[in-house]
């Protein structure tokens, strides 16, 4: 019974640790500048994201009247 309890708590505690490990590994992957292929892959994704942002930013009018609240 104690072992089951112990394994249950390990299962509950491992999920947030797995998430934090995944986040850490993703950060290391994104910021690792020693691997040229990784850098190129990350930058290709950033370029695609930048193109998507550029194409979807419209109706931007700084001189438009402010909405009346």
């Amino acid at each position: 019974m104690a072992n089951l309890t112990m394994s249950g708590s390990n299962a509950k505690g491992s999920f947030p640790s797995r998430v934090s490990e995944w986040i850490s590994s993703t950060y290391r992957f994104a910021t690792d500048r020693n691997d040229f292929r990784r850098n190129l892959l990350v930058n290709l994704g950033l370029f695609a994201a930048g193109v998507w942002v550029a194409r979807n930013l419209s109706d931007f009018d700084l001189m438009s009247p402010q909405p009346v609240t």
């Binding site: 950033l46 550029a54 194409r55 419209s58």
Partner: protein, 331 residues
């Protein structure tokens, strides 16, 4: 500013070096062909001239701000409708302070609505270093340019190039630092062809020769022009360059650029935007890159005074460096 015949804008405080008059640059969205002496053609069979090879990524690069370090003061003085001089003073704590005297002469020949020839541009600094360019329209389709750059009494760069503009293509050849005695030099050839009214493709061949060594580099370029966007891609031995320019509105322009060099094993992405508020005489440019660099430039015309104020700041998070600059341009 220099009379109605001159369409060349004065250099800005952010980039006081003498620039080519805008009329000699690329017209990415060329005006419709003028009617008159040329016989009429079917609209679907006419392909526009694609412009210059080096201008494929220019639209995107113009969105990015220019870094200004220290204090920069630029004074432009128009002496006549053909002649203009400028004084540029740069004070900085991170690099050498300098003073430059620049001149621009524009001839009476007119090649187009905003293109005049010949054009002579040059500047010299306090140590005697000279930058000079001569641009001349030899014929209706052939344009030539000669450029010199010296560092005090030594010639650093000398370059001559010729460009031929056909109906739907542009071909150019350039000779950089040719030295017959030393058997060295660089020959660069460009060719850009309009495949469709919106698609242009071309290539560049670079031949470099040094004593006992020679090398050839080739790259291909493609550019697609939409109603409000321009995408360009360059593939070469040295790497890849991709750019995307988008005009979101009359006030907002965006640019994204990817540079990847297999030779240097490095790549980077830069995202920039430009905000124009004509009613406030304001222009703001911002940039962020994958190299952890964030920067911005603010340029405002202080009407009715003939002054333009430029504020600039760049922050490199990775290297923990911050640069700021301040510039004033007097027209």
């Amino acid at each position: 500013m220099m009379g109605s015949v001159l369409a060349a804008p004065p250099p800005s405080a952010a980039s006081p070096a003498p620039l080519l008059p805008r009329g000699f640059g690329l017209l990415l969205f060329p005006p419709p062909p003028a009617t008159g002496s040329r016989p009429q053609r079917e609209a679907k069979n006419v392909l526009p001239n694609p412009g210059e090879f080096e201008q494929c990524h220019q639209k995107c690069k113009e969105v990015f701000p220019t870094q200004v370090n220290g204090v920069r003061l630029v004074l432009n003085k128009t002496l006549s409708k053909h002649f203009q001089v400028n004084h540029s003073l740069h004070l900085s704590s991170t690099e050498d302070s300098s003073y430059k005297f620049g001149t621009m002469f524009v001839g009476s020949g007119q090649a187009g609505p905003a293109e005049f020839y010949p054009v002579l541009v040059g500047d010299v600094d306090g140590s005697g270093s000279l930058n000079a360019q001569v641009i001349h329209q030899v014929t209706d389709r052939i344009r030539s340019k000669v450029a010199f750059q010296t560092h005090q009494q030594t010639f650093v760069t000398w370059k001559a190039d010729a460009e031929f503009r056909g109906e739907d293509f542009t071909a150019a050849v350039a000779f950089t630092n040719p030295d017959v005695l030393d058997d060295s030099g660089v020959v660069i050839t460009h060719y850009l062809q309009s495949v469709t009214p919106t698609l242009a493709m071309g290539g560049q061949l670079v031949y470099q020769r040094r004593p006992g060594d020679e090398a050839t580099f080739m790259s291909l370029v493609g550019r697609y022009t939409g109603s409000n966007f321009v995408g360009a891609l360059t593939l070469g031995w040295a790497g890849v360059q991709a750019s995307y320019y988008h005009r979101a509105s009359d006030q907002l322009q965006l640019g994204v650029e990817l540079e990847a060099g297999s030779f240097w094993e490095d790549s980077s992405v830069t995202f920039g935007y430009q905000l124009d508020v004509p009613k406030a005489n304001l222009q703001f440019k911002g940039v962020i890159s994958s190299n952890w660099v964030v920067g911005a430039t603010l340029e405002k015309k202080l009407l009715p005074l003939p002054l333009s104020l430029v504020l600039c700041s760049f922050l490199n998070h990775q290297k923990n460096k911050f640069h700021c600059g301040f510039g004033v341009m007097i027209r």
